[in-house]
Subunit: 207 residues, 2 copies
């Protein structure tokens, strides 16, 4: 099994390498990457090894091979189309965010149960009624749902997404979702991040 | 040093305990909490111990004492006032999110460099020009900044926040910020979460 902390660091490596690529740098060493990102070079080597790429001793890695290997590992060389479900405050912010596209996520449409929202376009993407999701997921081969509905609706909507053929749910709600084993759920836990912020601030202020 | 994975689990415990409290449950055991949250009961005991609370053997914990202890540890019994910096798509979604208030974060105002945004109210909170932040942070004793500006502006704005007395930055930008040791930075790495989603989906589809 691949260590998730290594996987989580891959986007930062990718971003740094794309910067080098833009400045026409062809080769890079673990040490250089480590220094730039505040990491230990043995950790960098281990992390990059999960993508299957191998550096040359004394030379380092080919920047473009490393970029390609990371993107292939993450599945970010194929752009994955996704639906946003729940076109409220958070859903709309995510629909407008161009940054996800560099990470292989292409939001193609949104769905909502509120008839006053249906039919509107947000950042060029249309909001459809939730009942249309099953049909559109099938026709457009969409496998990813970004869940931005209220907590009370989260599980019911999730069950419907699973029935509609969605295979991965990026969960922004605070609810722990129940899904079959064949469906991937990734929780975005903003409250967990806020907990770290608050406890570290509380600790700093006590010094 | 307190283990951060334990800190990150505290909001989930808090949410569960608040549910019990609302249903008039006064006592709870580690095992019950563990079963409800899909955790191992020894992990639950270790996590709760960081708050200083101790259960009674064969009886368990007082629900209200546990709630108070977790909130005190996180600093969530004092609501912390915060500024959103960068009132764009993401900043505005965060300003509208009532959920942070249960976690002790109270967004009181936002700041932006775009004159067409200044003066507007979003979800009852006013958008001020960035130059007013120093003065308002001092007068309102605000220590927390939620950073939602474009990546290119992130470091410059951060240096200004630090000069303005901000002691903790909840960083939503992809930039690794440089701050003095006395300032806490907590990065929200949505790309890292997306990396886990994509790689697990890629792996699932290969089976
Ligand atoms: N806004 C934030 O910054 C933020 C931060 C952390 C977590 N969240 C979580 O994200 C979710 C959305 O938050 P928000 O602030 O955007 O809320 P919101 O109320 O603005 O948006 C929710 C949207 O979901 C729609 N909806 C409700 N029931 C539905 C259903 N059954 N099917 C389809 N659509 C439905 C609503 O019509 C609305 O447009 C919530 O679970 C919240 O806890 C939001
Ligand atoms: N939108 C998302 O879902 C999302 C997801 C992940 C990360 N992010 C990150 O969050 C940040 C904001 O994203 P967004 O989509 O809201 O962008 P946005 O362009 O909609 O908003 C940025 C806001 O910052 C303001 N701004 C620019 N320079 C400033 C300065 N020097 N001082 C004060 N304000 C300034 C702009 O006027 C604008 O209102 C970016 O760093 C982005 O990478 C956003």
């Amino acid at each position: 099994a691949v260590p998730l902390p290594s996987v989580r660091r891959l986007p930062a490596y990718l971003r740094f390498l794309q910067g080098l690529h833009a400045r026409q740098r062809d080769v890079v060493s673990c040490t250089h990457i480590a220094d730039a990102l505040g990491l230990v070079s043995t950790q960098v080597r281990k992390d990059l090894a999960i993508t299957g790429v191998i550096g040359k001793p004394k030379v380092g890695y080919s920047v473009s091979s490393l970029i390609a290997a990371i993107q292939a590992f993450l599945g970010w060389n194929n752009t994955s189309d996704a639906f946003v479900v729940g076109a409220g405050n958070l859903g709309r912010a995510l629909m407008g965010y161009e940054g996800f596209r560099e990470h292989g996520l292409n939001i193609v449409a949104a769905f909502d149960s509120d008839p006053t929202k249906v039919g509107h376009q947000i950042h060029g993407k249309e909001i459809f009624p939730l009942e249309k999701l099953h049909d559109l997921a099938e026709r457009l081969h969409v496998l990813i749902g970004v869940l931005c509905v209220p907590a009370a609706a989260a599980q019911d909507v999730t069950s419907y997404l699973v029935l509609s053929g969605i295979r991965a749910i990026w969960n922004y709600t605070p609810v722990q979702l129940e899904v079959p084993e064949s469906v991937v759920v990734e929780d975005v836990k903003l409250s967990a991040s806020l907990a770290v912020l608050s406890s570290r601030l509380t600790e700093t202020l006590r010094r």
